[in-house]
Amino acid sequence: MQQLFYLIRKFRYFLLFLVLEIIALILVVQNHSYQQSKFINSANFISGGIYSKVSSITDFINLKSENQRLSEENNQLKNWIEKNKLVAKNKIISQIDTSIYAQKYKYISAKIINNNYTKRNNFLTLNKGAKQNLKIDLGVVNSKGVIGVIKSVSKNYATVLSILNSHSKINVTIKNDNHFGTLFWNGKDYNIAQISDIPRQAIIKKGDTIVTGGKSAIFPKGIHVGVIKDFKFENNQFKEINVTLFNDMSALSYVQVIMNYQKKEQKTLEQNTLNE
């Protein structure tokens, strides 16, 4: 016993190093697994508080581009309303069906107070949290396109797994083609993401628009992602499909979080089908 104490005393510096290093590595591994919620994240009140203070000072930098984006979005929405007015006029509604009129998605506005896009695994911090009903696995978008998925939530803040992250996998489809693929990022250029798993019978061209597929319960179908920049067709398979993102991921400010009211229903149904 005394020998043991002597050994511990002799090597206590090394043991301390080993313990601290192992704690750090456990945190790293935990950070790399998608399922587990992270233990250390910027959604706590200290870092969230500091980031929101700083972002309230540096807000004005993005103001001009943000105003332009808002105005474009307004324009788009107004045009869409006008288009639908005509359709509604020509249609005679004879019965009211609650399943048609019930709302499926709800958008919550939030602001990005810390943006990262240069690392291999990027996370963003939002200025809203559990108090505003944000939860894990909600989609985050702005008018230009997809931004990420919420990874952890605290009372007042939330962190978002950016699409510029090696663990981000988002179901996408080619507009007007309906073949599904998976959006990921190879870590090289923050303006360009990649698509895999597109079946070989799909017809794709340079400049095709990529939108979300809506297969998962996170994003509705048809949210813009980007356009195809280039691709290779080798051994009867599509390879290295590069997509130029619509969003400038280096200058993000106001975003919308998408809540899906029917997520639970879809998940339970899918789970039940799997269990049978």
């Binding site: 206590r12 510096y13 301390l16 190093f17 601290l20 290093e21 704690i23 750090a24 590595l25 456990i26 945190l27 790293v28 935990q30 950070n31 790399h32 992270k38 250390i40 994240n41 910027s42 706590n44 200290i46 870092s47 500091i50 980031y51 700083v54 810390n114 990262n116 240069t118 690392k119 291999r120 695994n121 996370f123 911090t125 962190t159 090696s166 870590g187 090289k188 923050y190 280096s250």
Partner: protein, 169 residues
């Protein structure tokens, strides 16, 4: 003594804040951000008891990781360079025993100071990018990122130390 502790607390806070608020968003050439927090390990007073350096480095790493959402990669890197600081210093200076009370990195000859900073900065960046990419198949981006980031870190830390520390007479 109290003055020394006070100075180190201030340095700790300033290093964390500057790292997460300024140097994490430099994005030189689009993607290079220096890790100036290694200044903590470079400048920590050399004492016979080395546990304090390990523990404070660990907490500094945890803070940096919290702010930048990087899990534990900066913690793992800074704890490692804190552990190997003394052996590296002995290797660089060629001495094995130091006058612990009077020793100050600023009193090293400039070429040895630069070498000392370079070894620690390179080691730190390498661990960070290795754990960030988390696979050996990405060895090329890991190495290129390590080299570009450590060069910027070395330049900033070297001139930072020259500007903000005083020589002991």
């Amino acid at each position: 003594m109290n003055n020394l502790i006070f100075k180190n607390i201030i340095r700790f806070i300033l290093l964390v804040l500057f790292q997460v608020l300024v140097f994490n968003h430099i994005n030189l050439f689009g993607y290079i951000n220096p890790f100036i927090y290694i200044g903590w390990v470079l400048l920590f007073p050399i004492r016979k008891s080395k546990n304090a350096l390990l523990l404070t480095s660990f907490f500094l790493g945890i803070l940096i990781d919290t702010f930048s959402d990087t899990g534990g990669i900066h913690t793992a890197a800074i704890v490692l360079i804190a552990y190997y600081r003394l052996p590296i210093l002995e290797l660089v200076t060629g001495k094995t025993d130091f006058d612990y009370v009077l020793f100050n990195v600023r009193n090293l000859p400039l070429n040895k100071l630069l070498l000392f900073i370079s070894v620690l900065a390179f080691l730190d960046s390498f661990i960070v990018f290795l754990l960030d990419y988390f696979s050996f198949s990405d060895i090329f981006p890991i190495l290129s990122n390590t080299i570009s980031t450590s060069i910027l870190t070395i330049i900033i830390s070297f001139f930072g130390i020259l500007l903000f520390t005083k020589k002991h007479k």
